[in-house]
């Protein structure tokens, strides 16, 4: 079945009439995020299944929940009154039968008096045209419509043919035991083998019961047989319980192994992130200590002005000068003292001389004053005018009475004496002179220490920056943050512990099962010994055949499943190699490893020697899953004509990036006869787009570029939004 076209009328962002024609090969719709790729994917899905994928809740929602969201806002806005209908029409060409199927879905809203009346649900119209007879008829029966849709896309293949990029993780979830069974069922209906196992199990049990009953009937000691039968039944129940427990333990073991395997891919990254984080914390702590020390040193600098006498820096000369001045002062002081003493000595000798001429106060000063006042010496009765030598001599007598012997101490007491202060200053200076000599060394040593701390601080800061960059890069590459890395390591350790414990339990339970089987065999042998007479041949044969049937049913299912897994693995490897061709960073072989419970499989990338290549990132895992999805389809092609279904996928390449885009397109064009892929990878990268359009290994269908009529950042609402469709080839 080839999808010829899709027509979109007023469907979501596709306002007005829009059409995409498709051809065989890979058809690509190129557009950036928010340009309408997902809405186009929605349109395909909506026509077929009456629902659209809601990316917010990651679920499909029916039309009756979406209602007016189906209809273009522009179409609603432009209409004043009346009905606005959104529709999407898919036209399929059945090349085998040379007929056309046209599937249309419509949904309408009515604008009336400014209000909007929404239809409850959509309407589906299907047409069938037989080209050779040139006739067309509407298909009315629901069963027939369902049949047509199944022929377009069978339910079991649908998950692997029509999917969103973000669904790839869940389509192939190797942590679910039925993921691979579902996939294998697409290749070959393995559940048939399961159903035959159920028949074999039931028949084996019933035939064994029948045999046991016959043995009891033919027993020579019916009482003993009954007792043995009770013991047998009891033991059989215990054996069954132990076997059930064995399955549960193996399931636990498989789950732990799967989780460990999954975690193992990121273990090295997680360990590195944890190591880097520990190192980062160490450096951060060190830096903080150094910074504190540096800050403290900076703050104590001004205190050192006084505590370490830095304030005296450069005062050596001052002190020296002061010393000189002080010495000079002391010298001068001594000289002054000598001079004063000399003067005093002169003055005192004069006083002494005066005292030798007349005794002090003779004549009495009152009489001398009287004589001075009268300007006449009454002793010699001569005139003594004021200022005359005689008058002056008389005055000397008055002055003499006031004169007395002076001492140096008295003289010195009369002047301000700072010498003791100056001496103290000198002595202090003398005491500090030792410190002054060390101030420069002390300052130099302190600044050396500061510079050393600053250097260390800067170096640690630089180291911290580098390690943080390394950490961030690791976080981005591994898609793990520090907490997730720590949790992952804890989880890995817990799962390993659980796996170890489960393994011990498996061994211990295996011993119990073996022991109970032995006991059961003994009881059955004892029961046989009690039989007198002959067990009918048909019954013996029946028990034997059904036991063999039981064994064959189980082993065949296992063998067929393993073979299909091998086919799937081989096909997946072909696609994986094709997609990763030219990229040396991703090499390896996909190995679907069977887990302990024999049901679950885990994908591993191994080298040629079978060594597991660790460190699978999300991109690797998605590539492996896409390779597996393609393998499911391509492995099936050998058996059936399943290449007649169209792959429709939205953004399947977004997870693994542009390096693998061309490889993916090549592989897709080989595996699928027709595919429709929505991609943003070719939007900005024009070189990649050019490769797509010219690469001869890609069987190319139609390529379209879609752009919104108004960019998202230039519009406040979607009332004028439509989508431009440009055909690129």
């Amino acid at each position: 079945m080839i999808l010829q076209s899709i027509e979109l009328n007023n469907f979501m962002c596709y306002a007005g009439n829009n059409r995409f024609d498709f051809a065989e090969g890979i058809n690509v719709i190129i557009g950036d995020n928010g340009y309408g790729k997902s809405k186009l994917y929605d349109a395909f899905w909506w026509v077929m299944y009456n629902e659209c994928f809601d990316t917010n809740i990651k679920k499909f929602r029916k039309t009756n929940l979406l209602k007016r969201l189906i209809v273009s806002d522009k179409a609603i806005d432009e209409k004043d009154e009346g009905v606005i209908t959104a529709s999407a029409i898919l036209t399929f060409h059945n090349t085998e039968k040379d007929s056309i199927y046209i599937l249309e879905r419509r949904y309408s809203v009515r604008k009336s008096n400014g209000g909007l009346i929404e239809d409850q649900d959509s309407e589906e119209i299907v047409w069938h045209k037989e080209l050779s007879y040139m006739n067309a008829k509407e298909v009315a029966e629901a069963d027939q419509i369902a049949r047509i849709k199944r022929s377009i896309m069978p339910d079991n293949i649908k998950p692997y043919m029509w999917f969103q990029g973000e669904q790839v993780e869940s389509i192939i979830d190797f942590n679910k035991s039925d993921t691979l069974t579902d996939a294998i069922n697409v290749l070959s209906n393995i559940t048939r083998f399961d159903k035959i196992i159920a028949i074999a199990d039931e028949l084996k049990e019933s035939s064994t019961k029948e045999l046991n009953k016959k043995q009891r009937d033919l027993s020579g000691d019916k009482g003993k047989s009954e007792n043995l039968e009770l013991a047998r039944q009891h033991l059989a129940e215990r054996l069954k319980a132990a076997e059930l427990q064995d399955l549960q333990i193996k399931d636990n073991l498989a789950t732990a192994e799967e989780k460990s395997e999954t975690l193992l891919n990121k273990l090295a990254d997680a360990q590195k992130i944890r190591e880097i984080e520990a190192k980062r914390k160490g450096i951060e702590l060190n830096l903080s200590e150094v910074q504190q020390e540096y800050d403290a040193e900076q703050k104590s600098l001004h205190r050192r002005m006084f505590t370490n006498k830095w304030v005296l820096k450069g005062t050596e000369k001052l002190f020296e000068e002061y010393g000189h001045m002080y010495n000079a002062f002391e010298h001068k002081k001594l000289q002054n003292a000598a001079q004063i003493q000399a003067r005093l000595d002169t003055e005192n000798s004069f006083v002494k001389e005066l005292q030798a001429r007349l005794p002090i106060d003779v004549p009495e000063p009152i009489h001398v004053q009287h004589m001075l006042d009268n300007e006449r010496c009454l002793v010699c009765d001569r005139e003594a005018p004021t200022g005359s030598p005689a008058w002056l001599k008389m005055k000397e007598l008055i002055d003499r009475s006031q004169l007395k012997i002076k001492t140096l101490e008295e003289e010195e007491n009369n002047i301000h004496d700072f010498s003791s202060d100056l001496k103290k200053l000198y002595q202090n200076g003398l005491g500090l002179s030792h410190n002054i000599a060390n101030v420069d060394d002390d300052i130099a040593s302190t600044y050396r220490r500061l510079r050393k701390l600053d250097k260390k601080r800067k170096s640690l800061s630089e180291e911290l920056g580098k390690i943080e960059a390394e950490k961030n890069s690791m976080i981005v590459d591994a898609s793990l943050n520090v907490n997730q890395a720590t949790n992952l390591l804890n989880e890995y350790s817990a799962q390993n512990e659980l796996a170890k414990r489960s393994m011990n339990e498996v061994n211990s339970n295996a011993n119990i099962i073996a022991k109970r089987k032995d006991e059961l065999s003994k009881i059955e042998a004892d029961l046989s010994k009690l039989v007198i007479g002959e067990i009918p041949t048909y019954l013996q044969e029946k028990v034997k055949v059904l036991d063999e049937f039981y064994q064959v049913a189980h082993s065949t299912r296992k063998r067929v499943f393993s073979k299909l897994v091998q086919i799937l693995e081989a096909e997946a490897n072909n696609h994986y190699l094709e997609m990763t061709k030219g990229n040396m960073s991703l090499r390896g072989i996909i190995k679907l490893k069977e887990l302990s419970n024999g049901k679950n499989y885990m994908p591993e990338l191994v080298d040629e020697q079978g060594n597991v290549l660790l460190q699978l990132n999300t991109g690797n895992i998605i590539l492996i899953k896409l390779a597996t999805i393609m393998a499911i389809i391509s492995a099936r092609q050998g058996a059936r004509d399943t290449d007649l279904y169209t792959l429709i996928t939205d953004a399947p390449m977004s997870v693994f990036g542009e390096d693998y885009t061309i490889g993916f397109c090549k592989t897709v064009s080989k595996v699928y006869r027709q595919s429709i892929i929505m991609s943003k990878e070719f939007y900005k990268n024009t070189a990649l787009r050019s490769q797509l359009l010219t690469n001869e290994e890609i069987k190319l269908g139609k390529v379209y570029l879609i752009t919104p009529s108004i960019q998202e950042n230039s519009r406040s609402n979607r009332n004028s939004l439509s989508t431009n469709i440009e055909k690129l080839n």
Binding site: S188, N189, R192, F193, K195, I196, A198, I199, A200, E202, L203, S206, S207, Y538, E541, K542, V545, L546, E548, F549, Q551, V552, A553, S555, T556, R559, V560, A639
Partner: protein, 70 residues
Amino acid sequence: MTKEEILRSYLEDDLLILQGYLKEGEAQKYKWSSPAANNLIEVVKIAIEGELTAESQNVTERKINSFLNK
């Protein structure tokens, strides 16, 4: 898989060779219409037939039982 292919996948089991029901390589040539060589092969065929015709498990079991009770 056709019913013949399903049957062959059962007949490829080692048990059939070990028990001497089939010789090496015989399974691949075996046809659905080949005469029944032994009861086990016949039981397998009844089971496959039942599964492919979507009959209930009980019916298939009854058919096998009645075949083996003869």
